[in-house]
Symmetry: C2
Subunit: 333 residues, 2 copies
């Protein structure tokens, strides 16, 4: 792989912008382009979106496929949407332009789970083009799945996995506060959940990744999503949650072997959640208990792991890869 990778940022929401900002700081990465479909962003110097005075010289393009063809980056840093079918054409555009891809699309963590045909199509296209495509992030991608698999390295047997993640959503970006329902009435929350396009995306994929990584032969994956109501008023930089309104959510994911939940992922994300933390417990021989004291730090960490995965995906064998198949991500300078 080249020692300095030429990177194109596709998707300039809060995470995409944080990741692009980070790319600009790295000597082993060169930001060569930025893309966002939002007409309010296209045409501006990226500096404007980053809140910087000095121009970067990178003008935001609206047409991703054209920018990819023109700039031919080594790798696309992709932060647009959560659902794989919605980003299929963006991924194919990168593949056609010969660019590797690191993507925050949650369903891409374990794309075969809900989109087997599409995963096959992407894998074949990437393999034929000699590029690799990876979905990753903190959650899914690290906190509740990858770390459990890493922890299993020191065990002789694992019977059950429990991962706990508690996030104080007050410290997170606005879209996250909205997507967990902060400020909604309970009834509105339930209506949103019923749409199937609400809340944390990727819980099923995390369960699937853990099950595959530990070869747990899970035959059924389920999840539940419940609102957490605010015990008192809580103000964030973006909104106010009043007492009795929804502060956020609790999302359980389960992987079953018969009637037994051998994988249980327990995610709390709400405004004001106390004692933020990440914990992994593997019940086995021997049992292990791993912890991130204070939790893995939010949006900053998500931007970091995406950027820290760029060199790894550039070095990976072509095709649709998973975080279990390639060298572990690590700090990129």
């Amino acid at each position: 792989m080249p020692s300095v990778l030429r990177v194109l940022s596709f998707g300039l929401g809060p995470i995409g912008l944080a990741a692009a900002r980070l790319v600009l700081q790295k000597t082993s990465l060169q930001l060569v382009g930025a893309v966002d479909a939002d007409p309010a962003k296209a045409g501006k110097d990226l500096a404007e979106l980053l809140g910087r005075e000095e121009p970067t010289g990178i003008v935001v393009a609206g047409d991703g496929a054209a920018a990819l063809q023109q700039l031919r980056p080594d790798v696309m840093l992709h932060c647009t949407q959560s659902y794989l079918p919605l980003v299929k054409e963006q991924l194919l555009a990168a593949i056609r332009a010969g660019a590797d891809v690191v993507s925050s699309t949650e369903e891409l963590l374990a794309p075969e789970l809900q989109h087997a045909l599409l995963a096959k199509e992407l894998d074949e296209a990437a393999t034929a083009a000699g590029v690799s495509v990876l979905g990753t992030g903190v959650n899914p991608g690290f906190a509740m799945d990858f770390l459990a698999v890493v922890a299993s390295a020191v065990t002789a047997d694992v019977k059950a996995v429990k991962c706990l993640r508690v996030v104080d959503a007050a410290t997170r970006r606005q879209p996250l506060q909205k997507k967990i329902g902060a400020g909604l009435a309970k009834g509105e929350f339930q209506q949103q959940v019923a749409t199937g396009k609400f809340g944390h995306v990727g819980m099923r994929e995390s369960v699937a990744l853990v099950a595959r990584g530990l070869d747990l032969r899970v035959d059924r994956i389920e999840q539940t999503v419940e609102p957490v109501l605010a015990p008192e008023d809580h103000k964030t930089p973006f909104l106010t949650v009043k007492e009795g309104q929804v502060a956020g959510l609790r999302n359980h994911g389960y992987g079953y072997v018969g009637k037994q939940a051998v994988v249980h992922l327990d995610l709390s994300m709400y405004v004001g959640a106390p004692d933020p933390r990440d914990e992994i417990q593997l019940e086995g021989t021997p049992s292990v208990h791993m912890k991130f004291v204070g939790g893995i730090p939010g949006d900053e960490a998500t931007a970091a792991i995406l950027v820290n995965s760029l060199h790894g995906v550039a070095a990976a064998a072509p095709g649709l890869r998973s975080v279990l198949d390639i060298a572990p991500p690590r700090l990129c300078r």
Copy 2:
């Protein structure tokens, strides 16, 4: 890679035997041979060394090179000695027989550090033979190095690394209790340290791996080894440490950039050490603090990570690999 790997166990000390026992339990591994240079072991059915009644049908061979040539295993599980020059011929014998290697040889974690020429020779031989060679274990290989690199994935910058490991040596194998000096007088301990072949092996290699993984440009690696004296009598299954005798050791490793120790690894291994645990602290943006509550469990874990690395090394690109370059180890069934 084949779905069931044919494994030869080379080295049948406590760790090698624990690893061989584990291989026998795995459906994705088949133990096809066992080797130990000790004449007291050669010729016996492996079951006898494992304390089992039923024979395994595997007779311990004394000549490793001959056994490798005859059995042509997919991979050699190598647990003999700590120092790379002492195991060079054993590794070359495996390479010549077309076998991948997973080894507990501590210096093989970062072989270029102290044996650059030998590392080059092994890399060239392995590459030419199309096999991969990996050094790993819990320490070095996981607790004080690999995990710090994994934790860095969620950081944008790391200025300094601190890893703490506290092991109650009373719970560990006899050779480990001996190698940390349990039961020696203080003066005897100091004499042993002066030989340079005493105590924990691999501290420098751990520092080197962290420095490489986080691209910390360390210009000097140092370590200190001090005895920890027993505050009271302590009996283990293998020996008794009297009050005032050496209970074990404290081993600090440092990686310097100029005058600043940017890597500090702090290892306590002594009989009766309270609050066993593993902790990783990365000082950076953001800082992270990772913990294994109760510590990574001893010799069991070392056997496990060696066995859990077999499929990964079989799938890796040929050559001398490091734990940073290949897919992370995970539970093998």
